[in-house]
Amino acid sequence: MSKQVNAKDIASGVILLLLAAIGIYINLDYQLGTASRMGPGYMPLVVLVALGVLGMGVLLAGFYGSPERLEKWAWREVGLILAALSIFGAMLEDIGMAAATVALVVISGLADRTQTLKGIAALAVVLVAICWLVFTWGLQISVPFLPSFLTNP
């Protein structure tokens, strides 16, 4: 029988230690200076060492803590939501707010399994209208609403 450990804490500890190690490696390029004249690498080194120590602590605590497994990730939701927002960001400048909003609504809409095609369509129309009203007409932010090839022929 394998020993029961807190897998969450162990994973957390390992990640923190890794981050600290990578950080310290990057920090090698920055001058440390002396205590009275601290260089740009001084404070980060202190912080990174603290991070490493805490990571070690979390890791050790994981071996003694109450047993717990890693939680499953909702990959589908994570992927769809983050992809929707990334594509929105990529489309915003050149293709405009209207099309970007539609793309975001369609992609993120897939993340909720109870959502229907009709629901997505209605939501897209309403949100494009709200965005125009609030951001283009109301706040007059400098984001193009329609694709640039339509407005500047």
């Binding site: 969450k8 804490d9 957390s12 923190l16 981050l19 950080g23 990057i26 920090n27 920055y30 001058q31 002396t34 205590a35 009275s36 004249r37 601290m38 260089g39 740009p40 690498g41 404070m43 980060p44 912080v47 990174l48 991070l51 805490l54 990571g55 979390v58 605590a61 003694y64 109450s66 939680e71 990730w73 909702a74 939701e77 994570v78 939501i81 983050l82 929707a84 927002l85 990334s86 929105f88 960001g89 990529a90 915003l92 400048e93 707010m97 970007a100 909003t101 975001l104 609504v105 993120s108 809409g109 909720d112 109870t114 959502q115 939501l123 949100l127 965005c131 932010i141 400098s142 984001v143």
Partner: protein, 497 residues
């Protein structure tokens, strides 16, 4: 003090500021009511809307959003049994029980009136204590500041629930994120991983939005039970004579507790509501009703909550140190406006300081007016299905993140922090300490460098200066108090095995 309050009122009573206070209160309530969207997410979501405004107007609007979100949160706690955040958990205990018994209206009324009274008193406390603390803080040198910030960072973990080591690690990670970008003294570019867009540092808005807004959306989609439920009927809003006379002393006690505890850095807000609930249960003459809808259990904690959310402005306004994640957002908003919060603010920006204080009271009054009569509107908001809400929130996040610097890179940063935020939830880390560390990190480095230059590299300066030594001792004490019980518990567990 009266002169100053008059100045503040004259600032707050301009048409523009009144209008934005109103808009902030309405938007804050509307979003706060929505289940699964807490005050921190609400404010980070709406932060970009305020960048085009004057500093004072934007602070007034953000403060309105903050109180509005708190009020809205208690509405959904009472009617839906869904606490938007920790402070509303207590409200569900008695408030939702009252709603089940058909007295939802009374619970909402006592929450609103108690909050208004508490807000009024706490505003006066802020007006009185603010200048006093400022005079003290003016005598602080870099060493005192360094120790104070360190104390603030440690305190930020005291009341965070869960593993103390993990909370501390979040603080440290936040400080590290705060160090990304150009070092001001040497011009050295640090930890930008080759992205020129990071020369100015990690974006504050993307960080807050990603950690709180985006991660919350994914979480809510994953666990549908977090966001649905049956909405109770509101019923009559009026309190009966008996309910009224039972509530008055609870409101007074809650106000006193909240005003005191709100100043504490860390979790003063949550602590004050829990403390008030415990107190009410101890002193109530109707102890048997607790757990099945005692009005004292709504009146006390709701007043405490609102008083504390008011007085939690004190450390932010006088020392520039955030008492909680919302205050960290406020500091971020001020810094984007080019204002460094701290003891000098009261002299350099008296209109900002006093205008904000006056608007606190006005905001509370507005909330009382818009909350009770419009409760039907908020209830209908509760019924909007989440599948229509989250794409709307996403669009607002996207446009908001983009418009800070007109840069798509900030949208991608939001995506990255959304992923980090979700990973933190999965590994049971608290994101709030990270945000506080991020805001305080650069200040911590700055004061450390200055103190060490002055002392010619002698670390003992932090202990030789009495005020600094007291701060450090308090920090050490808090740390010990947190770590010791958990070690003892672990030992007991080990022995029990």
């Amino acid at each position: 003090m009266l002169d100053n309050l008059e100045l503040g009122l004259s600032v707050a009573f301009t048409f523009q500021n009144l209008a934005f206070s109103f808009v902030g209160c309405v938007i804050g309530t509307a979003i706060g009511v929505l289940p699964g969207v807490g005050p921190v997410a609400t404010i980070s979501l709406l932060l970009p809307l305020t960048f085009g405004l004057d500093p004072i107007t934007s602070m007034i609007m953000l403060a309105g959003i903050y109180y509005g979100a708190q009020y809205g949160g208690s509405t959904s706690a009472i009617l839906l049994n869904l606490p938007g955040e920790v402070t509303a958990v207590v409200t569900t205990l008695e408030g939702h029980k009252m709603a089940r018994a058909g007295r939802a209206g009374a619970a909402l009324t006592v929450a609103a009136i108690g909050s208004f009274f508490a807000g009024t008193v706490a505003t006066l406390v802020v007006a009185g204590a603010g200048p006093l603390l400022t005079t003290v803080a003016m005598a602080f040198g870099p060493a005192e500041y360094f120790s104070l910030i360190l104390l603030g960072l440690i305190a930020a973990t005291v009341l965070a629930h869960g593993n103390i080591l993990k909370s501390l690690a979040m603080i440290v990670l936040g400080v590290l994120f705060g160090l990304v970008g150009t070092d001001l003294q040497s011009g050295q570019i640090r930890f930008t991983l080759g992205f020129p867009q990071l020369f100015e540092g990690v974006g504050f808005v993307p960080l807050a939005m990603g950690l709180f807004g985006i991660a919350e959306i994914i979480r809510n989609l994953e666990c549908p039970e977090n966001r649905s439920g049956t909405v109770s009927r509101v019923g009559k809003l009026w309190l009966t004579k008996d309910e009224f006379s039972r509530s008055v002393p609870s409101v007074l006690r809650g106000t006193a507790l909240g005003s005191l505890l709100g100043v504490l850095p860390g979790g003063g807000l949550a602590l004050s509501t829990f403390a008030s609930y415990m107190l009410e249960r101890k002193v109530s003459k109707h102890r048997e009703e607790f757990g099945s809808g005692a009005i004292e259990g709504v009146a006390g904690p709701e007043s405490a909550n609102n008083a504390a959310s008011q007085t939690s402005f004190i450390p932010m306004l006088t020392l520039g140190i955030p008492a909680n994640a919302v205050m960290a957002l406020m500091i971020g908003a001020l810094m984007i406006q080019g204002i460094q919060p701290g003891p000098r603010m009261i002299d350099e920006q008296p209109t900002l300081f006093w205008g904000l204080i006056a608007s606190m009271w006005i905001g509370n009054l507005m909330l009382l007016v818009i909350n009770l009569p419009l409760v039907g509107v908020w209830v209908s908001l509760l019924k909007v299905p989440y599948k229509y809400l989250y794409p709307a929130i996403l669009v607002f996040c996207g446009i908001g993140a983009y418009s800070v610097n007109n840069s798509a890179f900030d949208v991608y940063q939001t995506v990255v922090f959304g992923l980090i935020g979700y990973a933190l939830i999965k590994l049971e880390f608290e994101p709030a300490p990270l945000l506080i560390g991020f805001v305080l990190g650069p200040m911590l480095e700055e004061y450390l460098k200055r103190a060490m230059v002055l002392s010619r590299g002698d670390v003992s300066v932090f202990i030789d200066r009495p005020v600094s030594a007291v701060f450090l001792a308090l920090g050490a004490l808090a740390l010990a108090a947190m770590i010791l019980p958990s070690i003892r518990r672990r030992k007991e567990e080990a022995i029990a095995e």
